[in-house]
Amino acid sequence: MIDAKYIELINREIDGVNSHKEGAKLKEYLAKSPEAQKLYNELATVSNVLKKVTIIEPSPNLRKTILNSLPSGKYTARERRKLFMPRMGVLFGAYKLRYAYALVAGIVIGFVAYSIFDVERSTPSDFSTLYGAMLSHESALSFETAYNEQVILDELEGTLEIKYAEGVVVAELDLQSQQEMEIVLEFDENDLGFLGFGQFKGSKSSVGVDKNNVRLRNMGENRAVFMFTDKTRSISPLNVKIFTAGALVYEKSGPTGRNED
């Protein structure tokens, strides 16, 4: 039976926190007690095995997800109040009065500049930029199909269609799945800009948008339309990926236009 105080010394030795004196005392005891030596050896083995456990990388998007989740604005609400709404007694102090004058001056300059430089806004001749908020299936634009595919898999089935018109790209998915699926559309943000999303069928979805991808998570019947501005008219591909139960089951890179030749 190993004395409890030596069990502690053994564990502290594993942790490297024994003093020189404690280490020497333990060493002397281990030399006399095979049982204690066995315990020390085995705990050292456990420690070494734990050291072999690999550090796992979080997904590359986690950092962005964290930063995007932070409360909007540079400060917490308390800090915002503290910095921009000083107490009344301080406001009239000479030290703070300078800032009040600067604030008023800035507002006046802003009004003057706006009245001088206000640009007459022209009514756009096309309404493609309104698609993000006012999705209508009857389009003022003439869409052509760049890509159309029937998707038939064990996990899901339906259709994927990519259409284009003047300055606009639309990806329309009509899919059915018995399990939750995640649809990811990846694009080059220099060529395409995400405008908006419309859902015609299906239960409520969660939608996530990043600089160069948009994600929809849903289950069951799903008819959804994703709209993009075509910035460069360069037929930049739109990559469509579909995941079910975390596994990629479908991937296609569809064109966003048609080659002239």
Partner: protein, 181 residues
């Protein structure tokens, strides 16, 4: 010094410099995630907990007392978030080994994966309070004092849980790895 840097970053953040909090995230994202992962044993859930821990840290930054170490305060948040998650989600999901680092040779990677799997299985057999001290001591390499501050328990309790957890891991792991490694 590490601690002074963290406190400087916190002060900058409280003065409105959000880039300072980005630096904090960059510095602690991986260790926080790995701590959550080893407690929760699910990659996606660990990411979710990591996210909520950093958000909570950001929201409560004004409550941080600079007399203490920032990472101890941050770890307390992530451990609490992880424990709350575990208490709500009773099911165990296998760690996705596809996501283990692949920077080594195929044989080394396989060995690492196998070791990590064996360890994770053994860890999940422990009571969660024992698992947490193993994670904080062996994976985060924190001292007894730091762990006691994070978990708000005495150092004596930290050692008691740690030594008990090691004893239990000894039984499980030595079947695979033998008595001397």
């Amino acid at each position: 010094m590490k601690e002074d840097t963290d406190i400087i970053l916190v002060r900058h953040c409280l003065n409105g410099n959000n880039r300072a909090f980005e630096s904090i995230v960059d510095k602690y994202e991986k260790p926080v995630f790995n701590a959550a992962l080893r407690i929760i044993n699910n990659y996606q859930d660990a990411e979710d907990v990591t996210q909520s821990a950093f958000v909570k840290a950001f929201e409560k930054l004004t409550t941080f007392n600079p007399r203490y170490k920032f990472f101890s305060w941050l770890y307390r948040i992530v451990v609490n978030e992880s424990l709350n998650f575990v208490s709500q989600r009773k099911r165990l999901v296998e760690l996705n080994t596809d996501l283990v680092s692949r920077e080594k040779t195929a044989e080394e990677a396989y060995d690492d994966i196998e070791t990590s799997q064996q360890v994770q299985v053994a860890l999940m057999d422990l009571k969660v309070e024992h698992r947490v001290v193993i994670v904080l001591k062996h994976f985060q390499e924190l001292s007894y004092t730091e762990i006691s501050q994070i978990l708000d328990i005495s150092e004596k309790t930290v050692k008691s849980r740690l030594f008990t957890a090691r004893e239990q891991l000894r039984t499980r792991l030595l079947k695979r790895y033998g008595k001397n490694d």
